[in-house]
């Protein structure tokens, strides 16, 4: 049976991506549902998304009751997520949830509890369903590395026009309610959740304590709004494994693709590196490039004294080979019983608790236990 999707979330959010992914997977987009209590700007974005997709715009309570509705894709701003998730779960819809699950450990736990009580399926967007992450977990589970000693993971979002910002130590805030939405986001939350969830998923254990720092390295906008654009942390897990994590929005010039996600897994037997770089063909071509001049006494360019200087370089480009399992497709496969789950709501709540502990650690400059 074709899944019917209710979109709770508007334009200029990840709902743009999720709607596209559900449609590509053969699902039927039924409506955009506007939750009660959203501010005017966020409600207007729901209307924008509905218009762009040619979908009806309905109050969320009416949308979840539409015949055929089976999944809610939830991408409202962070403070509204517990309420919207609870409403959709109570209506019996499975939940596909934007990352991070919530802005606080308490809100995340509330969502996990609502999912548990309703008995619906739920998955939070993450990288763990990507081929490279699955390969990393297989390497651990197959024992190729022996006992795991440490994991080091990074998530660098190479987007945004960076600037030279003031060189000083950032003073972090332990708790807050403003997560940003339009111009900037808190990147320890927004980017840090990727490596945090990946590492916890790979290890399959719980984090005990965190030591973290945050920084303003790249963006004037982040500095102006007093939110971090970079973060780093050391996380102790309960089986003695130490994880180090770096994350941030680092500017368009920092990598050749929109982002770089990576994990280094250190085991007793070996160390392996996995990353988000897709398999690709490297294309070198003389098209559009002036070739080296012909030299009759050294036509094969064998000798230094007769080679052109500087030597012309071919044009180099990459042709991605694709692959990978989009997280939405993995969610649908999980609901159909054909694939293991990605990050469920309970696991995601723990990941939010790790992030919350990291902020407190950065603010108070000490190790903080994960609640």
């Amino acid at each position: 049976m074709t899944a019917g999707i209710i979109l709770a979330g508007g334009s200029r959010s990840h709902q743009e991506n999720y709607a596209t992914a559900f449609a590509a997977a053969g699902c039927r987009l039924l409506a955009v549902g506007v939750a009660p209590g959203l501010d005017e700007a966020e409600a207007a974005r729901h209307a924008e998304l509905a218009a762009s997709l040619g979908l009806p715009l309905l109050p969320l309570e009416a949308a979840v009751a539409l015949p055929g509705a089976s999944i809610a894709s939830i991408c409202v701003s962070l403070p509204h997520r517990p309420r919207v998730a609870a409403l959709c779960a109570a209506a019996g819809l499975h939940l596909y949830l934007d990352k991070p699950l919530a802005g606080s450990a308490e809100d995340a736990a509330a969502i996990a509890a609502a999912v548990h009580v309703a008995g619906v399926g739920a998955q939070v967007f993450s990288h763990v369903t990507a081929d490279w992450a699955r390969a990393a977990r297989a390497a651990i589970r197959e024992g190729r590395l022996g006992r795991i000693l440490a994991v080091h993971s990074d998530m660098l979002m190479a987007k945004g026009l960076s600037a030279i910002v003031a060189s000083k130590v950032r003073q972090e805030h332990g708790t807050f309610t403003d997560f940003g939405r339009d111009l900037v986001k808190r990147e320890l939350t927004d980017m840090g959740i990727y490596p945090v969830s990946l590492v916890a998923w790979l290890l399959g254990t719980r984090a005990l304590s965190v030591q973290a720092v945050t920084a303003n390295h790249a963006f004037a906008q982040h500095l102006e709004h007093d939110v971090e654009d970079y973060g780093a942390m050391l996380v102790d897990f309960d089986d003695g494994v130490v994880a180090s994590i770096t994350c941030g929005r680092v500017g368009w010039h920092a990598w050749r693709r929109p982002f770089l996600a990576r994990v280094v897994i250190v085991g007793e037997r070996d160390t392996l590196v996995f990353d988000s770089e897709p398999p690709e063909l490297t294309l070198t071509s003389g098209r559009g490039v002036a070739p080296p001049g012909f030299n009759a006494i050294d036509p094969m360019e064998m000798w230094l004294s007769t080679q052109a200087s500087p030597r012309p370089q071919p044009a180099v480009s990459a042709i991605p080979l694709g692959g990978g399992t989009p997280d939405v497709a993995a969610f649908l496969a999980m609901l159909a019983g054909s694939e293991p789950a990605g990050i469920d709501a309970g696991a995601a709540a723990h990941h939010c608790a790790i992030i919350a502990a990291a902020y407190l650690s950065a603010a108070e400059k000490r190790a903080v236990a994960v609640a």
Partner: protein, 109 residues
């Protein structure tokens, strides 16, 4: 000198030169993991010394867990470094600056 020590020596020289030449703008962070045979492996403290050279200001906060170190310098720069025994040479590096970045992911066969 071991292969790992030679590689780290060359890396140190090239990194400091690139940063001094302004190739990445104002350098902001260092991320470095080194793996190698136990006898060749540098102490994490030595890896942090690379941060001292790149950032050229005093450290203001240090944290450690296992073989990983987290360090903040006076100008807000951050280094996250680690070193672990491995049967082969592994060097994973990212240096981020205000105008560019330096990356290395080297793993010997």
């Amino acid at each position: 000198m071991s292969g790992l020590a030679a590689l780290l020596g060359r890396l140190d020289a090239v990194l400091v030169a690139a940063v001094t030449d302004g190739e990445v703008g104002v350098v902001r962070s260092l991320r470095l993991h080194v793996g190698g045979l136990a006898g060749d492996l540098p102490e994490p403290a030595r890896l942090l010394a690379l941060g001292d050279r790149l950032f050229a200001c005093p450290r203001v906060r240090e944290a450690e867990s296992g073989s990983a170190r987290l360090c903040v310098w006076e100008g807000g720069q951050v280094a996250t470094v680690s070193a672990s025994p491995a049967p082969r040479t592994v060097v994973v590096l990212t240096v981020l600056g205000s105008g560019g970045a330096l990356h290395l992911c080297e793993r010997s066969p």
